[in-house]
């Protein structure tokens, strides 16, 4: 078995898992299961990218989407109190509309891919290999030299998005109680605790202060 055959087998295996998982995202009844299927989709898509020797993108996909975004997503979905039955209602009613949208999208995609395929020029050699660098190194060079401005603009847009999301959802509650750590550490123990010195007393010895039993 030569490496190409093995790679082809791997490709089909990963593609099959990707497509099957993507289908189950929209068909599974339980929302948490659907999110986990989406995680599997991302993971096997990353495996497909690894086969293309795009190791940086593949690992970044796992770190960012599988490791962070989907965890938060799962977090939210687990907290939601979803009426599963209600979600299934109207599946048949909306099926024709969904099918029409799906067919239109399919035609558009086929059109796009078909037009591309007609005047396609075969993709050149892997630029990272041509430059004698690892995939990550080449991507870093490209991003920080040729594409520096778009890269920085993308970063800025994402930051604005984060700030906007925080600003939209942050509500200062007047009745909520807050702790200020800097104030907490500045507390003087002498104001909180009073240490009283007294002589040791044995309980079985009646002392002058104790009242005699009536």
């Amino acid at each position: 078995m030569n490496p190409q055959t093995l790679q082809l087998i791997c490709f089909y295996a990963f593609s099959f898992v990707t497509v099957a998982a993507a289908l189950s995202v929209i068909s599974l009844k339980n929302t948490v299961h659907a999110v986990l299927a989406l995680v599997l989709t991302f993971f096997s898509a990353a495996c497909l990218w690894l086969l293309l020797e795009a190791e940086f993108l593949a690992l970044a996909l796992i770190v960012v989407y599988v490791g962070a975004v989907m965890v938060l997503f799962l977090f939210v979905v687990m907290m939601l109190d979803i009426d599963q039955e209600k979600m299934r209602e109207g599946f048949v009613k909306f099926l024709p509309v969904g099918l029409i949208v799906a067919v239109v999208m399919l035609v558009e995609m086929l059109g796009l891919v078909g037009v591309r395929a007609m005047n396609a020029h075969v993709l050149g050699e892997n630029p990272a290999v041509a430059a004698g660098m690892s995939n990550t190194e080449w991507l870093g060079h490209a991003l920080y030299t040729t594409f520096l401005l778009p890269f920085e603009i993308a970063a800025l847009i994402l930051t604005v998005g984060v700030v906007a999301a925080v600003a939209l959802t942050l509500r200062e509650r007047r009745d909520a109680r807050y702790e200020t750590p800097s104030q907490q550490v500045r507390v003087d123990p002498r104001n909180r605790v009073r240490i009283v010195k007294m002589a040791a007393v044995r309980p079985d010895e009646p002392t002058a202060s104790q009242e005699p039993q009536p």
Binding site: M1, V32, L36, V39, E55, F56, L59, A60, I62, V63, V66, G67, A68, V71, L72, L74, F75, M78, M79, S134, N135, T136, E137, E179, P181
Partner: protein, 342 residues
């Protein structure tokens, strides 16, 4: 054909076993060592009944866990309930693939080693979340929620620490990172000196990532009983235990590799025998780092949830961001030069 099969399948499997089996043994001994050390710190004896000095205690525990009944809670999701321990364990073991034990001893000398590690450690949280959800228990779900938020927060700080290291080393490859710390001055060439705050942050994040005390919010025995694995018993619980300790040892090794010069000797190479690098140095360093985990557990009380979040987002991440810039300057002005390797 047969040749290829041996070279590409059989040998890697043997190498993997050479890493995983000692790792499992190390986990067992580390559990014993932990109980012993915490015992000493509490002025107790620790386990001392089974075997000499109680050294076989961990193995007795393993046998006990394996023959215990695994109970499935009512209305728990059977498939996910049994999948969760495996999802916790597999990334914990898979991450070891790129750890270089010495200059030549590495299973996979991957170019994107650090990224791979980051990907694998970030997968581990799914084991906890799925376990918490599939158990159909409120305590477990709360543990899973706490853990998800905590792990994501500290992963950011950890990622920024790794950025500092790879800025200085100029590579994502762990072997090259260690080689970049080589030089004529021994211990003074290690990245822990220019990146001292980052080193501390990395280890704190590592403790938080593995859900260890004082960051063991996911378990919180006194608040939510045992958190995400409260419903697990027997071998399923043992697998969670194995994953947690394998992750602790992994973080210890990583801290040693990234900041303490990996297998390099702390003494200059000119000192003869003692100045040569070797995997024994890596084990000594990793042992010292893993001892810190135990020391923390015996020393610090558990953080409150808001304190954990505050520490992660408002203290560690800002310092790490500043130090990314400092590392950039150190590199740009050639303050830190990269060694050529032993």
């Amino acid at each position: 054909m047969a040749d290829q099969l041996i070279n590409q399948v059989l040998w890697p499997v043997i190498y993997i076993l050479c890493i995983v089996l000692p790792l499992v043994i190390a986990v067992a001994m580390f559990v014993y060592w932990e109980r012993k050390v915490i015992g000493w710190m509490h002025v107790r004896l620790g386990p001392n009944k089974i075997g000499p000095f109680g050294i076989l205690q961990a193995f007795a525990d393993v046998v006990k866990l394996l023959i215990k009944e695994v109970i499935l809670p009512t209305k728990a999701n059977r498939f996910l309930y049994f999948l969760a321990p495996l999802i916790a364990l597999i990334p914990a073991l898979a991450a070891w693939a790129v750890i270089p034990f010495s200059g030549q001893m590495v299973l996979s000398n991957a170019n994107a080693g650090i990224l791979y590690l980051l990907a694998m450690t970030s997968m581990g949280v799914y084991g906890i979340i799925i376990a918490g959800w599939a158990s159909n228990s409120r305590y477990a779900l709360l543990g899973a929620m706490r853990s998800a938020a905590q792990v994501i927060s500290y992963e950011l700080a950890m990622g920024l620490c790794l950025v500092c290291v790879l800025v200085l080393a100029g590579s994502l490859n762990l072997t090259e990172i260690v080689n970049a710390q080589a030089g004529s001055k021994g211990i003074l060439e290690w990245f822990m000196w220019p990146l001292l705050p980052v080193f501390v942050i990395y280890f704190i994040s590592g403790v938080a990532e593995t859900n260890r005390a004082p960051f063991d919010m996911a378990e919180g025995e006194s608040e939510i009983v045992a958190g995400f694995h409260v419903e697990y018993s027997g071998s399923a619980f043992a697998i969670f235990f194995l994953a947690e300790y394998a992750n602790m040892i992994l973080i210890s090794f990583l801290a040693s590799i990234l900041f303490l010069g990996g297998w390099l000797s702390p003494f200059p190479a000119s000192w003869g025998f003692i100045g040569h690098g070797g995997f024994i140095w890596l084990f000594i360093k990793a042992f010292m780092m893993s001892f810190l985990f135990l020391w923390f557990r015996a020393t610090f009380p558990r953080y409150r949830y808001d304190q954990i979040m505050r520490l992660g987002w408002k203290v560690l991440i800002p310092i790490a961001i500043v130090w990314v810039m400092v590392a950039g300057c150190l590199k740009y002005f050639d303050v830190v030069t990269v060694g050529m390797g032993a």
